[in-house]
C-alpha cells in the first residue's frame, strides 16, 4: 500500500484501535481501485462501449418510435366511417332481389408512448388495434418484422439488464482475486488498516467505477433523446428518468456485490469469472424467465380461442333455450322473448370478456410479482412501469376496451327500447365516442409506487450479497 503515508499511519496510531471508521483509509483504497480500473482501461472501455450502445440503440429505437407514431397519425387522420358502400335493388316484373357491398376502415390504434423510445416494454402490444362492439376483437400485431419477437427488444432496459450487469461483474469479480494472486491483499491486511475499512474502500472504488461508466453514458442518451425527441420537456418526465437511473444503479450494485462476494470466496481470477458468469446466467437469464414460466403454469388464463369457444357455447345455449326466438345470431326484436334473450346474450358476452381481460391483467400482475424476486425481472418490470410502458399501462389499455365494451353493451340494450332510426343513431354515437378514446398516462406517483416493489427487491439482493461479502471477508484467512 504505497499510497498510505506515514502521516496517515501516525494519525491512525494516535487514534488507536477504536470503533470509528477511518474515512481517509477508505477513500485511499477506493481511489486506488478507481485508478487501477482507469489504468487497465476498464473504465474507458466500459464507458465507450456503454455510451455507443445506448446512443446507437436509442437511435434505432427512435426510428421505431417514429414509425409507430406515424402509423398512429395515419390511423387518426383516416376517416372513421363504419362502412363505405351501398345497396342496389333489382326490381323486376316477376320478383326482386338486391345487392349490397361495403368496406370498413381500420379500427383505432393507441398512441405510442414517448418513453417507449427509451424503454419499449409492452408498448408494442398496446399498438394493436381493437374493434369494440358486442365483443372485442384484437387485431393482428404490426406486420413489419415477423421475427422481431424472437429476440429481445434492444432498448435501454436491454442494455442495462445485460451489459450493466456484466460491466459491474467485470469491475468486481477480480477486485479481490487480483490482490490475492499478486499477494498484495496479504500485504494490505498486514498494514494498520482494518478489514472493515479495506472492504468498504474496495466496494466504494468498484461502485464509483460503475457510476463513472453508467452516469456519463446515461447522460449522453438522455441528452440525445432530449435534443431529438424533446422527451424530457417537463419535470415529471425528468423525474421519471432520474428514477429509472436510480433503479439502474441499484441493479448495477446487485452485481457489484455478487461479483465482490465471489471474488472474496475464490482465490483465482479465472475461477471467479466462471462462477460470476454462471451466477450472471442464473440471475439474468434463468431466474426471470423461470418466474414468468412459473406464473404461466400456476395462473393460466383464457386464450382468445377459449374465450371464443365460451362465447360460442353461450350463444348455443341461448339458441337451445329459446329456439323460437333466436333462429339466427341476430334475433328479430319483434318476436316475443327475443329482447330478453338478446339482453342475456349481451350480458353474457360482457361477463366473459371481463373474465378474459381480468385473467390477462391478473397474470401480468402475478408475473411482475414473481419476476420481481429476481434482479433482472425487478429491473424490467420496474423501469417499464416508470416509463409508462409497463403492466400499469397495459391495465389501462385493457380498461379502455372494457369500458368501451360496457358502453357498447349499454347502447345495444337501450336500442331495443328505441325506434330503429333512434337506436341506430345512438349506437353510432357510442361507436364514435368509444373509437375516439385514448388511454391516459398513469400519474407519476402511481408509477413510483409500482416501482417500489422492484426497488425493494433490488435493495434486498444488494444488501444480501453485500452482507455476505462482508461476512466472508471477516472470515478470510490471509495465510
Amino acid at each position: 500500500m504505497p499510497d498510505i503515508s506515514n502521516d496517515h499511519l501516525q494519525t491512525y496510531s494516535a487514534k488507536g484501535l477504536d470503533n470509528k471508521l477511518n474515512l481517509t483509509f477508505i477513500w485511499l483504497v477506493a481511489r486506488k481501485e478507481i485508478l487501477t480500473n482507469f489504468r487497465n482501461f476498464r473504465i474507458p472501455f466500459a464507458l465507450v462501449t456503454l455510451t455507443s450502445l445506448l446512443l446507437g440503440l436509442a437511435h434505432l429505437m427512435s426510428l421505431d418510435y417514429r414509425y409507430r407514431l406515424s402509423n398512429w397519425e395515419v390511423n387518426q387522420t383516416a376517416p372513421r366511417d363504419a362502412i363505405v358502400g351501398g345497396v342496389v335493388d333489382y326490381n323486376l316484373i316477376d320478383g326482386k332481389f338486391s345487392y349490397s357491398a361495403g368496406v370498413g376502415y381500420s379500427p383505432p390504434v393507441q398512441r405510442p408512448r414517448p418513453f417507449s423510445v427509451f424503454i419499449k416494454g409492452i408498448d408494442g402490444e398496446m399498438n394493436r388495434s381493437g374493434i369494440i362492439n358486442q365483443r372485442i376483437n384484437f387485431m393482428a400485431r404490426q406486420d413489419e418484422l415477423v421475427i422481431s419477437l424472437l429476440f429481445d427488444t434492444p432498448d435501454t432496459s436491454f442494455v442495462i439488464k445485460l451489459f450493466v450487469s456484466l460491466i459491474a461483474l467485470m469491475f468486481s469479480l477480480d477486485a479481490m482475486t487480483r490482490e490475492k494472486e499478486a499477494g498484495t491483499l496479504r500485504l494490505a491486511l498486514a498494514e494498520p488498516i482494518r478489514r472493515r475499512e479495506f472492504l468498504p474502500g474496495k466496494w466504494l472504488g468498484i461502485s464509483a467505477s460503475l457510476l463513472l461508466t453508467l452516469g456519463p453514458a446515461y447522460l449522453c442518451e438522455i441528452l440525445y433523446l432530449q435534443f431529438k425527441h424533446n422527451l424530457f420537456n417537463d419535470q415529471a418526465s425528468f423525474a421519471r428518468a432520474l428514477f429509472i437511473f436510480f433503479l439502474c444503479i441499484l441493479y448495477g450494485l446487485v452485481f457489484v456485490n455478487v461479483g465482490f462476494f465471489i471474488s472474496i470466496l475464490v482465490t483465482r481470477t479465472h475461477k471467479a469469472i466462471i462462477a460470476g458468469l454462471l451466477a450472471w446466467a442464473t440471475i439474468v437469464l434463468v431466474l426471470p424467465n423461470a418466474a414468468v414460466l412459473a406464473t404461466q403454469v400456476l395462473f393460466p388464463t383464457l386464450t382468445y380461442d377459449q374465450f371464443d369457444a365460451h362465447s360460442y357455447k353461450i350463444r348455443q345455449d341461448l339458441r337451445e333455450a329459446e329456439p323460437a326466438t333466436t333462429s339466427a345470431v341476430k334475433p328479430s326484436i319483434g318476436l316475443p322473448g327475443a329482447k330478453t334473450t338478446l339482453v342475456r346474450l349481451l350480458e353474457a358476452e360482457r361477463q366473459i370478456t371481463d373474465e378474459y381481460l381480468m385473467g390477462k391483467i391478473n397474470q401480468l400482475r402475478r408475473a411482475r410479482l414473481f419476476a420481481s424476486v429476481s434482479p433482472a425481472g425487478a429491473l424490467v418490470f420496474g423501469i417499464s412501469d416508470l416509463a409508462n410502458t409497463g403492466v400499469n399501462d397495459f391495465e389501462e389499455y385493457l380498461e379502455l376496451f372494457r369500458s368501451g365494451q360496457l358502453s357498447m353493451t349499454d347502447a345495444l340494450k337501450r336500442r331495443l327500447d328505441l325506434s330503429p332510426q333512434a337506436g341506430k343513431k345512438l349506437v353510432q354515437e357510442v361507436i364514435k365516442d368509444v373509437n375516439n378514446r385514448q388511454r391516459a398516462d398513469k400519474t407519476p406517483i402511481t408509477s413510483y409506487l409500482s416501482a417500489s416493489l422492484p426497488m425493494a427487491s433490488l435493495a434486498v439482493w444488494a444488501a444480501f450479497f453485500g452482507l455476505a461479502a462482508a461476512w466472508r471477508f471477516k472470515q478470510y484467512d490471509a495465510r
Binding site: 434505432l60 429505437m61 426510428l63 421505431d64 414509425y67 402509423n71 395515419v74 390511423n75 363505405v84 351501398g86 333489382y90 323486376l92 316484373i93 316477376d94 320478383g95 326482386k96 332481389f97 345487392y99 357491398a101 368496406v103 376502415y105 419499449k120 408498448d123 402490444e125 394493436r128 372485442i136 384484437f138 387485431m139 393482428a140 400485431r141 406486420d143 413489419e144 418484422l145 415477423v146 421475427i147 422481431s148 419477437l149 429476440f151 434492444p154 445485460l162 456484466l166 483465482r268 479465472h270 469469472i273 466462471i274 458468469l277 454462471l278 446466467a281 437469464l285 423461470a290 414460466l293 412459473a294 403454469v297 393460466p300 386464450t303 371464443d308 369457444a309 408475473a367 424490467v380 418490470f381
Partner: protein, 455 residues
C-alpha cells in the same frame, strides 16, 4: 497418445465443477421449460380443435375460415407461429383475406418464450465457453503444454485430440438437454387427441445443428486460447464476443434492417387498400344500378336479371381481386424484402442462424408462414371464390329451383408440410454460414497452434 490426451481431457472435465454446474442448471431449467411448452402445445392443439368445430358449425356459404394447423415440432421451437395471424376469413363479398382476432400476449414483449432454442443458443453456448476456455491457455499457464508437445505426436493431432475432447464434453450436456426436454415434452403433452410426433431423424438433425453452433463457440475459445497465455484473458476476451454475438447482434440486426430498408406504415397501406376497394365498390354499385335500371326498363324477369347480375359480380370480383391483390402483393414484397435483410443480418450470429435453422426444421419459421399465406391465397383464388360464385349462381331468388340443402362444397384446406430433406434445404444457407465459421476458426486455431513458440 491421441487416446491418452483425449482421456485426460474427459477426465478433467468430469472432475470439474463447471461441468457439474451445467448439468445441475440444465436439470432445473430443461424440465420446467419442457413442461410449460407441453402444456402450451396441448392448449394450442385443443384450441385448434375447438376453433375448427366452431367454424364448421358457423361457417356459411359466403364465409369460410382457414386455420393454420399447429406444427408438430412447435414445442421445440415456437418461432413465429404465434406472432402472426394463423387464421384468415375468406368472404365472397370482399377481395380482402382478413385475419381473425388474436390472443393478447404482453409478457412475450418483456420475456420471449423459453424453448429449446434459448436453452441451446444462450445457455449451452455460454457453457461451451466455460467448458472450453481452459483447454490450451490453461495448459500454457500451468506449463503442461510443453510436456504434452514433447510427446511423439504432431501438433495437429494434439489440437485434434483436444477438439474431440471438447466436442464430446459438449455433446454430453447437449444430448442430455435435448432428450430430457423431449421426454418431459412427450410425457406431458399426451392427452387424448394431442400427440407430439417427433422422428429420430428430426431429433438427430436438431442435435447436429445444435452441436455445430456449440462447436463455433468452442473453436472461438480455442482460437483465443492459442493466442493468449492466461485462462482469465481467454474468458475476458470470450465473454464480450459471446455477449455481442448471441445477445446483441440478433436484436440489433432486426432494428437495423428496419432502418436500412424503410417501408410505408401499415395503416397507410391499409388505408390505401380500403380506399381502392371503396372506389371499386362504388363503381361496381354504379354499374349494378345502371344494369338494374336497364333491366327494369326492358321489363326483364328474374331469370335474365340473375344471369346479368352473376356476370357483373364475377367481372367486378375479378377486377377487385386483381387491383387489391396488386396492393397487398406490393406490401408483402416490401415486408419480405425487409424480412430477408433482417434474416441475412441475424444469420451472421450463430444464435440467429440456430433460430433460422430451427424455424425451418420445426416448420415454425418465416418460410413456413409464407407457405401458409401462399396456401391461403391459392385456396381463395382457386377453390373458394369459384365454388362460392357457382353456389351463388345456383341460388336464384324467388324461384323454386333453389335447393336449401345445397351447401358449399370445398376440398379441405391443406398447408404444405415439406419433408425433412426439403426443410433442411431451406436452412442450407444458415448451415453453410455456421460451417464456414467453424472452418475459419479451425484454420485460425491450426495456424496459431502450429506457430506456437514453446519457449
Amino acid at each position: 497418445m491421441f487416446r491418452v490426451i483425449l482421456q485426460r481431457e474427459l477426465h478433467e472435465a468430469l472432475k470439474g465443477y463447471t461441468f457439474k454446474s451445467v448439468i445441475v442448471l440444465l436439470t432445473l431449467l430443461v424440465p420446467l421449460s419442457a413442461y410449460i411448452q407441453a402444456v402450451h402445445y396441448r392448449r394450442l392443439v385443443e384450441d385448434y380443435a375447438s376453433r375448427q368445430n366452431i367454424h364448421r358449425v358457423e361457417s356459411r356459404n359466403e364465409i369460410v375460415v382457414l386455420t393454420r394447423p399447429v406444427p408438430s415440432l412447435l414445442p421445440f421451437f415456437n418461432g413465429v407461429y404465434e406472432n402472426r395471424p394463423n387464421e384468415f376469413r375468406l368472404q365472397r363479398d370482399s377481395a380482402l383475406v382478413l385475419p381473425s382476432s388474436e390472443d393478447l400476449a404482453p409478457l412475450e414483449w418483456l420475456f420471449p418464450k423459453v424453448d429449446l432454442s434459448f436453452i441451446i443458443g444462450v445457455l449451452l453456448t455460454l457453457m461451451s465457453i466455460l467448458i472450453a476456455y481452459d483447454k490450451i491457455a490453461g495448459e500454457k499457464a500451468r506449463g503442461t503444454l510443453k510436456f504434452v508437445l514433447s510427446f511423439p505426436l504432431s501438433r495437429r493431432s494434439v489440437l485434434l485430440a483436444k477438439l474431440t475432447g471438447t466436442t464430446l464434453q459438449l455433446l454430453v450436456p447437449l444430448i442430455y438437454a435435448v432428450f430430457l426436454y423431449t421426454i418431459v415434452l412427450i410425457f406431458f403433452s399426451y392427452k387424448e387427441m394431442t400427440t407430439l410426433t417427433v422422428s429420430w431423424a428430426e431429433l438427430g438433425a436438431l442435435v447436429l445443428t445444435a452441436l455445430i453452433v456449440l462447436m463455433v463457440f468452442a473453436l472461438l475459445n480455442m482460437a483465443i486460447s492459442t493466442t493468449v497465455k492466461q485462462s482469465s484473458t481467454v474468458m475476458v476476451a470470450c465473454t464480450p464476443v459471446w455477449t455481442a454475438v448471441v445477445l446483441l447482434w440478433p436484436s440489433l440486426g432486426l432494428y437495423a434492417a428496419s432502418s436500412l430498408r424503410p417501408i410505408a406504415v401499415q395503416e397507410a397501406t391499409q388505408h390505401q387498400i380500403t380506399l381502392k376497394e371503396a372506389e371499386l365498390i362504388q363503381a361496381e354499385l354504379a354499374d349494378h344500378k345502371e344494369v338494374a335500371a336497364g333491366l327494369q326498363t326492358q321489363k326483364a324477369g328474374v331469370e335474365v336479371a340473375w344471369e346479368r347480375y352473376i356476370e357483373l359480380r364475377r367481372r367486378w370480383m375479378g377486377r377487385r381481386n386483381d387491383e387489391v391483390k396488386q396492393l397487398t402483393d406490393e406490401r408483402r414484397r416490401q415486408i419480405n424484402g425487409r424480412q430477408q435483410l433482417a434474416r441475412s443480418i441475424v444469420r451472421l450470429s450463430p444464435y440467429g442462424a440456430l433460430k433460422d435453422i430451427l424455424g425451418s426444421l420445426c416448420n415454425t419459421g418465416p418460410d413456413s408462414y409464407e407457405d401458409f399465406l401462399d396456401a391461403v391465397e391459392l385456396y381463395y383464388q382457386q377453390e373458394f371464390l369459384p365454388a362460392s360464385m357457382a353456389h351463388l349462381a345456383r341460388h336464384k331468388p324467388g324461384l323454386n329451383n333453389t335447393n336449401q340443402n345445397d351447401e358449399l362444397q370445398l376440398r379441405p384446406f391443406q398447408v404444405p408440410s415439406p419433408s425433412l430433406g426439403a426443410r433442411l434445404k431451406q436452412a442450407a444457407l444458415s448451415l453453410c454460414l455456421l460451417l464456414g465459421q467453424i472452418f475459419g476458426l479451425l484454420a485460425v486455431c491450426l495456424f496459431r497452434f502450429d506457430h506456437y513458440d514453446v519457449r
